[in-house]
């Protein structure tokens, strides 16, 4: 994806975790070290004021990307460039401090991400104090009240404890805390997955309103494609640590290329009840410790051939879109889809 002056760009980002057995057992069993490639060389860029969504099934590495971007993990390889500054190269705390307040994170579980012993006022005041944004305590209170009102809570709610709020209200508090340091960029890791649908609608509407008012950019991690359709401008589909397709969201939803993207879109329950026909895809996500060789999706892919098993697919550009699939690269995908569709019995 070619983006002029992006707020965030990651280049060849990788993260491996050491999942080796204990030393003694390795010696006894004559095993080597084993690593898990959670994120394997991904590239994307987020334009200013826009939302890029990463989707994929559990274990695909999407949450690891979120944690890498905010610096909760250090990358094994690659660059994370935030507004022209390479975060991965920065080491010292003082170097980080000036950029750190410009991006914040919202977590999935609003019950685990707020300290139950702190009043809401103190929770939201912490980033303000940590970054030295306020001149005095009155200014802190003013900023806390402002942020509570931004998320449609009352300034008086600051006196309460988190347990006095419902799940949706707690997620509003998390958003208020994230906004307290006046960031430009928010990383949201499944922010509505723990919420009921009617509350999810409230939070999604709030996030869109805030984006418009404050010019925020979002990296939005989700497994729910309908939510992503609603909120994202750009979409990245991940499978076993690799980004298999990335590009403008509307384009991918209308005309998915990678067979895995097609499968994901096909698996969305049909709320319209049109009775549309699906191409069945069997199997499950393989273990990321021993991923299949070549294209990771080949054991589940109805269009795979020998090359898919042997060779890791490179990048194919289609307009603004980037796809990693041999069938797309060779231009044989459409014919293959036709063939499989004819072979499968009418559902």
């Amino acid at each position: 994806m070619q983006v002029e002056n992006p707020i965030l760009a990651v280049e060849n980002l990788s993260k491996s975790f050491d999942v080796s057995a204990p030393l003694l057992r390795r010696i006894v069993r004559r095993e080597g070290r084993s690593t898990l490639k959670a994120v394997d060389g991904i590239d994307f860029a987020i334009p200013r004021g826009k939302t890029l969504s990463l989707v994929g099934e559990s274990g695909c590495g999407k949450s690891t990307v979120a944690r890498l971007v905010v610096g909760l993990y250090t990358p094994t390889r690659g660059r994370i460039v935030f507004d022209g500054v390479d975060l991965a190269a920065k080491r010292s705390r003082s170097e980080m401090a000036s950029v750190r307040k410009r991006f914040q994170m919202i977590f999935q579980d609003p019950f685990a991400s707020l300290n139950p012993r702190w009043r809401v006022h103190d929770i939201i005041a912490e980033p303000i104090r940590a970054h030295g944004l306020a001149e005095n305590e009155r200014d802190v209170s003013r900023r806390v009240a402002l942020n509570l009102e931004r998320v449609k809570l009352s300034a008086r709610d600051g006196e309460k404890f988190p347990h006095e709020f419902s799940g949706g209200q707690r997620q509003r508090i998390s958003i208020a805390r994230a906004l307290a340091s006046e960031p430009e960029f928010l990383v949201c890791d499944e922010p509505t997955s723990a919420l009921d649908v009617s509350v999810q609608a409230q939070i999604l509407n709030l996030m869109k309103d805030l984006q418009r008012e404050l010019g925020l950019s979002y990296l939005f991690i989700s497994h729910d494609l309908a939510v992503v359709y609603h909120i994202a401008d750009y979409l990245g589909v991940m499978y076993l640590g690799r980004l298999v397709e990335v590009g403008p969201a509307r384009e991918i939803f209308q005309n998915p290329q990678h067979p895995y993207t097609r499968m994901l879109l096909d698996a969305i329950p049909d709320l319209e009840m049109t009775g549309r026909k699906r191409i069945p895809v069997g199997g499950e996500v393989p273990s990321p410790i021993a991923p299949p060789p070549g294209c990771h999706f080949n054991p589940r892919c109805p269009f795979a051939n020998e090359r898919c098993v042997a060779e890791t697919p490179g990048l194919t550009r289609l307009g603004e879109r980037e796809v990693r699939c041999h069938a797309v690269e060779e231009g044989r995908l459409e014919a293959d889809v036709q063939r499989v569709r004819e072979q499968s019995p009418a559902a």
Partner: protein, 353 residues
């Protein structure tokens, strides 16, 4: 209002007529009938009502979806039917009938024989519903031998056949493995095999696909539906996911604050909801292909059990609420093909019927 005895008799009358109306829709006989079920939690400040006067039936070979947000009482209803309520929760009123036999007043020992044999269960988390210390084969065989009179080798054969039926590859080998050796989707298949192993008449499935990824979810839904058709079992499918309901259920009951607010054929409820809550709920679900700047949202949240407002429990959030809604609680009223607990449908024509 709830403790008023005259109001209670009123309710029974209205449910009876409603049952008749439903019988004309589907001619199959009901496998499970729930009548005016009430579940309470005893507390220091009086009882909390988690399920309040819920009546429905599930017919042979039918999938009834029960949908609602957290705290709506849907799982409580399921747990009350199979009598697995955690104390201090208890059934405070109403009846549960299975195939013409009343089961809510059976002794614990009698209920044990009903559970597993005549009602199967599938829970949300497959890892906690399987014992990690026993092989899946041992768990299947144990269940079969508890309820059926057969030898151990016959039971093992039946278990292998069941595993094959739920789509587990190489079942002869997999039967001697432990639950941790199965992936999430495969584990849920084992749980379904466990629920089906003695051909129950009724299956209560509580959020069977919630812990699974979307691609696996579609596989499990299809499996559950096919198996129930083949075995002729009735299914009560409890979920918060309208998409799952749309794909699977024949009829759907929408719950709110412990009550059924709307019940009817799934297509009518989804496409043409009669209760303002159902309408709001459907509007708040994002759909691929619908370009909306904002999602429709229902203001506020579901009341806590201690703070259920008088009259219709939805009235503080309802855009159409009028005076009657704040005072008098609506029962299910016929509104086209569905029934909705909403005074908007209490027209003079309806009253004359």
């Amino acid at each position: 209002m709830n403790s008023d005895p005259t109001a209670n008799t009123d309710k029974t009358v209205s449910t009876d007529t409603a049952v008749k109306a439903d019988a004309t829709v589907s001619k199959k006989k009901p496998v499970l009938e729930v009548r005016n079920l009430r579940v309470e939690f005893a507390g220091r400040r009086g009882a909390l009502v988690a399920v309040d006067d819920v009546s429905f039936e599930v017919n042979e070979g039918e999938v009834l979806g029960v949908v609602g947000e957290s705290g709506a009482g849907k799982s409580m209803t399921g747990a009350a039917i199979i009598r697995l309520l955690e104390p201090p929760g208890h059934i405070a009123g109403g009846e549960v009938w299975l195939d013409g036999q009343r089961i809510d007043n059976l002794s614990t020992e009698e209920m044990r024989r009903v559970r597993g044999k005549r009602i199967g269960m599938v829970f949300q988390d497959p890892l906690t519903s399987l014992n990690p210390l026993y092989t899946v084969g041992k768990q299947l065989i144990e269940t079969i031998l508890t309820h059926e009179d057969m030898s151990e080798s016959q039971a093992r054969e039946r278990a292998i056949q069941l595993l094959a039926e739920v789509g587990i590859p190489a079942p002869e080998r997999r039967i001697d493995q432990y639950p941790h050796q199965f992936s999430g989707g495969m584990r849920q298949r084992v749980v379904i095999a466990l629920a089906l192993c003695v051909n129950p008449r009724m299956i209560v499935a509580d959020e069977p696909t919630t812990a699974l990824d979307v691609s696996i979810q579609a596989q499990i839904i299809k499996l559950l539906k096919n198996l129930c058709e083949e075995h002729g079992a009735a299914v009560m499918l409890i979920t918060h996911d309208m998409g799952v309901i749309a794909e699977t259920a024949d009829r759907v009951a929408v719950m709110y604050a412990g009550r059924i607010v709307e019940i009817g054929p799934v297509r009518d409820v989804i496409k043409n909801a009669k209760h303002p809550y159902t309408e709001g709920l459907m509007g708040s679900i994002p759909v691929v292909g619908h370009d909306l700047e904002r999602l429709a949202q229902i203001e506020g949240s579901m009341p806590r059990l201690t703070e259920i407002p008088p009259g219709c429990p939805f009235n503080p959030r309802c855009p159409h609420a009028f005076d009657r809604c704040r005072v008098e609680r609506p029962n299910l009223i016929q509104a086209g093909p569905t029934r909705a607990a909403c005074w908007l449908h209490d027209t003079p024509a309806q009253a004359a019927e």
